[in-house]
């Protein structure tokens, strides 16, 4: 069939000439190629000590954010848990007491907030679902561990460090 784009090229397979059949020139050329790589800078990043820069849309470990006064933003509405396709998020809500006013922004807060990092697929839907801008997947890579129970991250690991006053 005729090519419409005219981009088709017919390759001709000629029988190998003497130099090609001797292998040696091609081998020497190949050796030259590898030797040129010998002197190139290695592209290895020595991971635990050096880290590769993440891209701007990288999704890593979750963090629960605080507002500008250092109060937790999460109001335990459960939208993140609902939106999660992997069923990784659970929480228990509690009512804020008057003396906790500078700890939690809303009147309802998450007493327990757990994410199972083995279930999580880092899709970022929780981040999109959150009406309070309380959860972001802006952390580093989730570290490895030995036991399944250690991958269930509670508030101690998820909540941002308190603001320094």
């Amino acid at each position: 069939m005729e090519s419409l784009s005219n981009k088709k090229k017919v390759l001709e397979q000629k029988p190998l000439n003497l130099a090609e059949r001797m292998y040696l020139p091609a081998i020497v050329k190949g050796l030259g190629t590898t030797m040129s790589h010998f002197f190139k800078k290695s592209s290895t990043i020595r991971y635990p000590e050096q880290e590769r820069e993440f891209s701007i849309n990288w999704r890593g470990m979750h963090s629960l954010k605080r507002d500008e006064e250092g109060r937790e933003r999460c109001t335990a509405c459960g939208l993140c848990a609902l939106s999660c396709p992997a069923e990784a998020i659970t929480m228990i809500a509690a009512e804020r007491k008057p003396e906790e006013k500078d700890l939690y922004r809303e009147e309802k807060y998450a007493a327990v907030y757990e994410i199972n990092m083995l279930r999580c697929i880092f899709c970022g839907l929780c981040e999109e679902a959150c009406p309070k801008e309380a959860i972001y997947l802006d952390g580093p890579i989730v570290p490895s561990d030995y036991l399944r129970k250690d991958f269930i991250y509670g508030k101690d690991k998820l909540v941002e460090a308190p603001l320094e006053k």
Binding site: L24, T34, M35, H37, F38, K41, S42, T44, R46
Partner: protein, 345 residues
């Protein structure tokens, strides 16, 4: 027998044995480093500075692994295989002249374990015996892949031994001797045999790649087809022996190539150097030069391994029987004619 003679030979053998083991150990490290550099990586760098202790860590790992002998394996032969491979790899160093004679307290100490007058043939014998370790191990494992690999190793070694022997005959026509010591002595200064026998050297080198089962001819241990090849069923230090034997073989064949074709301990302007230093220092400089050549060859082995893909089995056989052997025979004829003409006039 002279007691000094016994001590001297014993010391030489011990030193050679430990040098081969250390070189084999660090060849594994060098191989990984070379591979890494050729692929823009860093290679092992965690154990000690620049990963220099990596071979020790690997050795410790090998010793600590569980030793498994398959229940249907032929137990005795299963154990003989790796030992034989190691033995054949190590005894090759005995006839190679490592340097000029030393003079220690009035005694002339040759840096060669034994100068038998059929040294070249002895090396061939050792090489041809080396395949038994692989064959016995592969058969005793009672595993199809191991057996296939053993058979491949046998046919490959036999095929390439022919071409190797023929390529060496052209060299022997020139040297008129089978003693390695004399062959090296004839290459004084820059009269290296490779200048007179370039084709013979290329054939010999290709064959020694095949004899040591190194890439691109590492068909007996070709992972894509044969799992682990002849050492599929091996574990622990028995596997270690096989891997070690390969590296010692590489060291020995590098030494043989350096000795036969690249002048051994000879180097250009060696007479000028020898005039300025004591004879013993000159001899030791020669030994250092020989080891530098050996390391260059070992590097070349690795460089080729990480450049050229593995040959297919029929390609291997075609190359051996239809290319290398006719070329080697042509080389013998041309060399013979040239020598006859030169001797006439």
């Amino acid at each position: 027998m002279d007691i000094n003679f016994v001590i001297e030979k014993f010391a030489l053998v011990t030193i050679l044995f430990s040098i081969s083991l250390v070189i084999a150990m660090y060849s594994t490290y060098a191989e990984r480093k070379v591979a890494a550099f050729l692929q823009d990586r860093l290679g092992p760098d965690r154990a000690g500075p620049f990963g220099i202790l990596q071979p020790l860590a690997d050795g410790l790992k090998m010793f600590m692994k569980e030793e498994i002998i398959p229940s249907n394996a032929s137990k005795w032969l299963f154990m003989v295989g790796p030992g034989l491979a190691m033995l054949c790899a190590c005894i090759g160093t005995a006839v190679i002249p490592w340097g000029q004679d030393l003079n220690i307290g009035g005694r002339v100490v040759p840096l060669q374990v034994t100068d038998i007058n059929v040294g070249v043939l002895y090396l061939f014998g050792v090489v041809s015996l080396g395949v038994y370790g692989v064959m016995i191990g592969g058969w005793a494992s009672n595993n199809k892949y191991s057996l296939l690999s053993a058979i491949r190793a046998a046919s490959q070694n036999i095929s390439y031994e022919v071409a190797m022997g023929l390529s060496i005959i052209a060299l022997l026509l020139m040297t008129n001797t089978l003693s390695l010591k004399e062959i090296v002595a004839q290459q004084h200064g820059w009269h290296w045999n490779v200048i007179y026998q370039p084709l013979g050297f290329i054939i010999f080198m290709v064959c020694s790649f095949a004899e040591t089962n190194r890439a691109p001819f590492d068909l007996p241990e070709c992972e894509t087809e044969l799992i682990g090849g002849y050492h599929t069923e091996y574990s622990s230090m028995k596997l270690g022996f096989y891997l070690f034997a390969e590296y010692i073989n590489m060291f020995v064949s590098s030494a043989v190539m350096a000795t036969l074709y690249f002048g051994g301990y000879n180097y250009p302007w060696m007479d000028t150097v020898a005039a300025h230093v004591s004879p013993n220092t000159a001899a030791l400089i020669g030994t250092v030069i020989l080891f530098a050549k050996i390391f260059a060859f070992i590097f070349f082995f690795m460089w080729v391994r990480w450049t050229i893909p593995r040959f297919r089995y029929d390609q291997l056989m075609n190359l051996g029987w239809k290319t290398l052997i006719p070329l080697a025979i042509a080389n013998i004829i041309v060399t013979g004619i040239v020598i006859a003409v030169v001797n006439k006039f």
